[in-house]
Symmetry: C2
Subunit: 152 residues, 2 copies
């Protein structure tokens, strides 16, 4: 396990908010030279702490106005059943996230669709026909706030 000092945490916090900031600008704000800052960032990547940089997209502006969270209980939960379910769910393009969880549900899916009619199509033709599905609960996303969290 890699030891992180305060500067590393500050870097993670700053880059977590906006990953476009340059190593030079970040270093200047915390009294560090550009190469030193850049090396710390590379070290965090090599340690597997930073796993990637991804875009944040506005789904609404891309014509996907509906996001629904599905809580799924499987009818049969053998090992084969889980694998079958996961393979089949990975083939649904509208599924953005697959979370295998422990509790009232077995899986939680984040599904995005153009509108409610589009969502109904995905639900009926794709989700309800997944292998091993027992029950499906739905929640429609109204708004979402992402916070920095304790990481960093």
């Amino acid at each position: 396990m890699m030891a992180l000092d305060e500067i590393d945490h500050a870097l993670l916090r700053a880059l977590g908010q906006d990953a476009t900031q340059s190593a030079g600008a970040l270093g200047r704000e915390m009294g560090l030279s550009q190469p030193a800052t850049w090396r710390r960032i590379r070290r965090l990547q090599e340690a597997g702490i930073i796993t990637g940089r991804k875009l944040e997209l506005d789904a609404g502006k891309l014509g996907f106005g509906v996001t629904v969270f599905l809580g799924i209980k499987l009818a049969t939960k053998g090992r084969v059943s889980l694998e079958d379910f996961e393979r089949a769910v990975s083939a649904i393009p509208e599924v953005q996230t697959v979370e295998h969880i422990l509790g009232m549900y077995d899986y939680r899916l984040r599904v995005t669709a153009r509108d409610i009619a589009d969502f109904e199509r995905v639900l009926r033709r794709r989700v309800m026909t997944l292998p091993g599905v027992g029950s499906v609960d739905a929640n429609v996303l109204l708004s979402e706030e992402r916070r920095p969290g304790p990481l960093g």
Copy 2:
């Protein structure tokens, strides 16, 4: 609403997977010059379609081994109650995501903690004491897969 052609979608798809790719490399793969590619990306940002670039972190390697999803029902759901709840929940550092939803639950929280004992502390001292909370359901994250989704 901005019109996107196939190249824009290809760019969003490629950058969605790995936002570190250079405009030059992306353009080369789809037969476009570096400035042309870069201008398309900037256009997508100015249109608000690309809202930011953020780091993906490995919570486990940062010492946060437990992620739990909480489904919360409010006891009283007036307008004031929602605002009180949202303000209070935003002050909990362990909450990474606050989703206001419509369905069986009113809110969904993504909470990260160092271990189960740490999570119990957050749940008892922070979550259960939130204003207006009626009931709390929990699901522990076992594994998570993020997929490109239909965006792009």
